[in-house]
């Protein structure tokens, strides 16, 4: 496990550095173009780094709370969903994390999940109500194991920094290109103003232009490459924790079946979820520009793990499905000659009353959100948000006036 984290760190670091170099080059050439060859490039590099550092610091300290509030996630206690809490604790034990992560629920139908946090000591797992109502225990365990593996493998931190770096590159290029466009022929002005050799400056200007166009594309490809790899790895380590590939496989299948968009997600946060929360209708996202590997492929890999639930088994299944000899998991881990047998679980029967279950769960989440409940004598239940200020409400079914009880203070 630790070796995996180590080598994981190295690999991500290389891709991460590649993105850094793109950012520095961008800064260097743009700076050189605007401020002249004497020190301009260095100044550009300095500014690029400064922007990146500031945004990184903000996302390091506030990233997860921003993510959680943007997605309208609510922290819940064990009473709201004991099973979810138990499963998270089970995975905490299996993965030997130092602390149980905080648990959040988003009250939405679209099934999805994500993990946030800068370190294993300071992290959270979030699931949607739709996920809880659709998955059985083993499937939920598979999803939670995947998310906890992201925490364990330190993926969140990397993806946050890489995401911020990508954002910085995109913004710097965009501002530069727009500036050129609106400046109108200013390229010449900068070329002539320079004190040094004119042709050298022109070369720099052209390099800056080319870079500004190419850098965002390149950075995006790198970012997506890191992201996809980490999804596979989280699948592999998740399954190694639960010893039950079928749980995650059938959960992923159920998630793929879903046709609802997650309302709380947007382009910036989409990469954090276990499956892409935004589905473009009638468009198949190309492999290169997707943060997630295709679900069908992830499922096929998991289903091919007939020998066991270890890293070696995942690696073999990965190569078999992808027809590639690419090393997904480093040798240092694979060599440890381990035998990880697949757990034999009872396939849980799904006979729970789904509507009822879903309703109870929704009510609990509303309760957490400070809703008050009025049961009219005619049988209608009125669920009143804390923002409703009046003390009475008329029942639209029977016309009776009901009193609104004082709501729970949050």
């Amino acid at each position: 496990m630790w070796e995996l984290i180590q080598s994981n760190k190295r690999k991500s670091l290389i891709l991460f550095l590649a993105m850094g170099i793109i950012l520095l080059l961008l800064g260097y050439f743009i700076g050189g173009m605007f401020l002249g060859t004497n020190g301009g490039g260095e100044l550009g590099v300095f500014f690029a780094l400064l922007i990146w550092a500031v945004v990184s610091l903000v996302s390091y300290f506030a990233g997860s709370s921003i993510m959680l509030s943007v997605s309208r996630a609510k922290e819940v206690t064990k009473e709201v969903h004991p099973q979810l809490f138990n499963i998270v604790e089970e995975m905490k034990i299996a993965s030997a994390l130092p602390k149980i992560p905080k648990i959040f629920i988003i009250n939405e139908e679209a099934p999805n999940a994500f993990a946030t946090g800068r370190s294993p000591e300071n992290c959270a797992v979030t699931v949607t109500a739709g996920l809880l109502s659709r998955l059985n225990r083993d499937e939920l365990q598979g999803v939670i194991a995947h998310e906890m593996s992201h925490i364990k493998n330190r993926d969140i931190l990397y993806m946050t920094f890489a995401g911020v770096m990508l954002g910085t590159i995109v913004i710097v290029s965009e501002v530069f290109l727009r500036g050129l466009w609106f400046g109108g022929g200013s390229l010449n002005r900068y070329k002539n103003r320079s004190s040094g050799g004119g042709s050298g400056q022109a070369v720099i200007a052209i390099a800056a232009l080319v870079l500004a166009i190419l850098a965002p594309i390149l950075a995006r490809l790198l970012y997506f490459a890191i992201s996809r790899k980490r999804e596979y790895l989280a699948d592999a380590s998740g399954v190694r924790l639960t010893r039950y590939p079928e749980g995650l496989a059938s959960a992923l299948e159920k998630l793929a079946d879903n046709r609802l968009d997650l309302r709380a997600a947007n382009k910036a946060t989409a990469g954090m979820y276990i499956v892409n929360p935004l589905k473009k209708k009638g468009m198949k996202l190309s492999d290169l520009t997707s943060t997630h590997p295709p679900i069908s492929e992830r499922v096929r890999i998991l289903r091919n793990m007939s020998q066991g639930a270890g890293y070696m088994d995942y690696q073999n299944a990965y190569m078999k499905v992808k027809h590639k000899t690419e090393r997904l998991i480093p040798n240092s881990v694979l060599d440890s000659n381990e035998k990880v047998t697949i757990r034999d679980t009872s396939v849980s029967k799904e006979t729970i009353d789904k509507k009822n279950y879903r309703r109870n769960l929704g009510d609990l989440v509303m309760n957490v959100n400070g809703y008050s409940f009025v049961h009219c004598v005619c049988g209608l239940t009125l669920k009143i948000p804390p923002t409703y200020k009046k003390s009475e409400i008329k029942c639209p079914r029977c016309g009776r006036i009901n009193k609104v009880p004082p709501r729970n203070k949050l």
Binding site: M1, W2, P82, Q83, N86, I87, E89, E90, M91, I93, A94, S95, A96, N136, R137, L241, R243, S336, E338, R343, D344, T345, S346, S348, K349, E350, T351, I352
Partner: protein, 185 residues
């Protein structure tokens, strides 16, 4: 003179290297210990849950006195066990008794509709899972620690300071080890 200085610097560096290696061995050994205590915590939790469970189901399962008595006995045995081997045996017996109980539960639809029982059953399922995950995690730590002790260069250190290989937590009989299957329908 300068050769002597270089020699001193080398000695210090090597010293640091070995100190670091020693510390990492200690850290790994502590992880193993910690993982072991996790198993104990969960076993204790299981013992605590059982009286509650028996109390809840007693009224429903009037014909299953034997099954319930077996659980109570197995629990008492597990709590009284002192040596590790004894403990492992007693705990497997308890797992077996609970497994039988879960099979019998299927015949009591009333019981399965009882909210209180369902909550207890979820706790029990989870505790069984936690026990097996704690074992799994313990074995992971032991494997890693043992590998470190065997491999160069940390094996020198391990020999010098008498770091011993830790034993895996194996249960002789696979069938016994199996956590009882609790369905949550």
């Amino acid at each position: 003179m300068s050769a002597f200085l270089i020699f001193i610097v080398l000695i210090v560096l090597v010293g640091f290297f070995f100190a670091g290696m020693y510390n990492s061995l200690i850290k790994l050994r502590n992880r193993v210990k910690n993982a072991w205590s996790q198993i104990d915590v969960q076993l204790k939790r299981r013992h605590d849950l059982i009286p509650n469970l028996i109390e809840t189901v007693k009224g429903y399962m009037t014909h299953e006195r034997d099954t319930l008595e077996n659980i109570t006995k197995a629990r008492a045995g597990a709590m009284g066990a002192s040596s590790v081997a004894e403990k492992a045996k007693a705990e497997s017996a308890l797992s077996g008794a609970l497994g039988k109980f879960n099979l019998v539960v299927e015949n009591y639809p009333d019981l399965k509709a009882n909210q209180n029982f369902l909550a207890l059953q979820e706790e029990l399922t989870s505790t069984e899972n936690k026990i097996s995950f704690a074992r799994q995690s313990y074995n992971d730590q032991v494997l890693f620690y043992n590998n470190k002790i065997e491999m160069f260069p940390s094996n020198i250190m391990a020999n010098m300071f008498n770091f011993k290989q830790e034993e895996f937590f194996e249960v002789e009989n696979e069938a016994e080890r199996e956590a009882p299957k609790v369905k949550f329908n």
